[in-house]
Symmetry: C2
């Protein structure tokens, strides 16, 4: 049973993702209509500058007045692929006020203002979908909030930034240093001219906030996410990782505490065993590992960025939102009922790999071991390497809180015999 | 906003999966209520034999009269985890007639009668969900029919049977033969006393039919699926695979033809390159690789069977179906609008690895090569091994149709110089 009046879609942004959304809406119009139960029509495209030729888009649809477009009142779904906080935020809330549902790919906005946007959607009885905001084409939001709705998620461990995974994979496979690998990523178009958002973990932190919120049915703000970039990772760290049977990945980690009453969310480079499914995620691919009570260990893998993959996620949401409008229903909104405490980084419990430059004389190991013991951090293995008066100690700990480890490191730095802390790396996924 | 009248759930079957569904419904009652927006109540449990103590289930709820239970008229959702065709089929259609929606984990039934069951659900305006029918806990049905609803799926390549993956993984890692690996799988509980459904590919074929139907929006019947078991795979095949940089997996493969007008579905053992993400799927785990126009390559990985994982999938569906009932909507039903031709195995195009036992004399290779050429099958590489009057030829072909390959093999068998065809293995995932 096909309804003939089309659903009207307003597209905000017509860059790499937006143009691909428009293209697929045209080329796959019949499929979309069949899957939705009504045709969808591109009713307007808001851009920053007109005048540029846009393949397959009727120039009459193109406007620079995004606000007027979302206020038209006859728009069924607004697709927001502008990115950034403003004007995206105001446009989305305006869209809800004027009767539209919204599909967004905007991780920064969702991470910062997800709660307010969800509230606006609910007030107006509209949908807010954003599968494309996390890990591009990989279905992740929908599996977490729908497929696992009857389960209890305990941990989400993900490679959610393709740029940094490309760089780390390159360092791992070639022995290159960070700068050299970054230069190659830039040359190949995997890193932007200013790579800060990727390499400093801001992008991954936004995704971690979104994932943690959905996984734990708890509001997790961007400020709640501990963030550490991967610019300090060295070729020496990769050599250490290999000795441990590990590689290094920039991970977004969302965890429920053992007692179940609190959660943490963090982004930082970490060693993971080569046997872990995330270790073999190569190049710019993304993958997210989910651990839950009943399902056990699941992994979702795919391209985490790019015009087509992101458009695929946007269009999947578009179909769902259109179906909802036809049936007069809305999909699942924000679920924050669990309202768990979001604990700071100091409460995170994991293992650590610490490399120390130390004086090459007797008694150093005893001194260092005493410091660990005093801070309640139990040592798993320690390895001494000495050569030409220089010496290093590599300590791998048992599980300890981040606060205890920080205290340990601070005390180690004060020892005369410790010349420097060469690196501290968390060990995950064991 | 919590509705206080509970939604009533009837559970058909209380074995490994059913008892876990009941357990989680009790222990996670508050979470389920919060996520659904109303409490869910276990209103009845149909079993084959009463009298057995069932942990945490009120004996007053247990009945052997499943028909009476689904006919009660006050049941919101029937959860069918009996398996098999009858009485499951009749109970499900009766449930629809009496106003209930249905969540099922029954792959055999869905593969055989999915169309009729979907039609019954639609007639009565009810939901039929069955995430648990394919690959246990791995979200797959929902991603395929919802997340990828705006995309065009071209291929689904999956390890969807844990028993056979355990056996093949064991053969790969230890060099064991099929029987030895099967015995170990049986001893460890990974294989049933009668392993036919698994090792002969019947289980995987049912899943392939379901996956192909959803992926291609086309009805694919169980009879449409080509099926070849893995009982003939030998340790020698694994050695051959290793020489090719491959391993062997039992794959369910659903493909759209190059011209897009037809599809095929098949289950058979195949060599895949070690670099393919499916190659590293170990033990009894399942994984499904999906290739689509816009999203590119996605993979979904997790436990494909077991009480808890299957219960996780069932409960995810239960939450979705309950939400739909509260909002007065139904989820996506069968989508078979594309109505593509389902082509027979002969039309499948892939590469082949063929081992021949041949006479050790001059001219054999020329004869063999002529037969391949006559049938239009182009040879990629050929390797001759001779020793003590015995000789073998290992031929790897370029892409050719299964019909051409079959014709080739038939003609090869007629050659005096060919003593036997030791193995034929398809090569996939390149």
């Amino acid at each position: 049973m096909m309804r003939t009046r089309p659903l009207k879609v307003a597209l905000l942004g017509c860059g790499v993702v937006g143009s691909e959304v428009a293209r697929i809406m045209t080329t796959h119009a019949d499929d979309l209509a069949a899957r939705i139960g009504a045709p969808v029509e591109l009713a307007g495209v808001a851009v920053r500058r007109t005048g540029k030729a846009r393949d397959g888009i009727d120039p009459a649809l193109v406007t620079t007045d995004a606000t007027a477009l979302v206020k038209r009142g006859d728009i069924d779904v607004v697709v927001e692929v502008i990115g950034g906080i403003e004007p995206a935020r105001t446009l989305i809330t305006t869209a809800f006020e004027h009767g539209a549902s919204v599909v967004s790919a905007n991780k920064a906005l969702l991470a910062q203002d997800g709660a307010a946007l969800h509230a606006a959607a609910e007030t107006h009885g509209k949908d807010l979908y954003y599968e494309a905001a996390v890990a591009g084409a990989i279905p992740l939001i929908r599996p977490l909030r729908e497929s696992l709705a009857g389960d209890k998620v305990n941990r989400v461990l993900g490679i959610v930034n393709g740029t940094t995974n490309f760089i780390l994979d390159k360092m791992d496979s070639t022995g290159a240093g960070y700068q050299e690998a970054l230069d190659e990523a830039t040359a190949l178009g995997y890193a932007e001219a200013d790579p800060t958002a990727d390499v400093e973990g801001f992008d991954a932190a936004a995704k971690a906030a979104i994932l943690a919120g959905i996984a734990f049915h708890t509001r997790v703000r961007l400020d709640d996410v501990y963030r550490e970039g991967m610019t300090e990772v060295t070729a020496a760290d990769f050599r250490s990782a290999k000795e441990m049977g590990c590689t290094i990945k920039l991970l977004a980690i969302c965890e429920r505490s053992k007692d179940g009453t609190s959660v943490t969310a963090r982004v930082h480079p970490a060693m993971i065993p080569l046997s872990h499914p995330l270790a073999s995620v190569r190049g710019a691919y993304n993958a997210v590992f989910v651990e839950s009570d009943a399902a056990g260990q699941l992994m979702f893998y795919g391209p985490g960025a790019g015009g087509s993959p992101t458009a695929s996620a946007v269009l999947g949401d578009l179909v769902a939102v259109c179906r909802n409008r036809l049936s007069g229903a809305t999909g699942p909104g924000e679920s924050a009922y669990a309202d768990l405490t979001v604990s700071p980084m100091g409460d995170v419990v994991t293992r650590y790999h610490i490399s120390l430059d130390v004086a090459d004389k007797p008694g150093v190991l005893a001194q260092v071991a005493t410091v660990f013991a005093e801070h309640g951090v139990s040592i798993d293995t320690v390895r001494q390497q000495g050569k030409d008066g220089e010496a290093s100690l590599v300590v791998v700990t048992h599980r300890a809180s981040d606060a205890s480890l920080s205290g340990t490191v601070e005390a180690l730095r004060k020892l005369d015999t410790v010349r420097g802390v060469a690196s501290i790396m968390r060990v995950e996924g064991e």
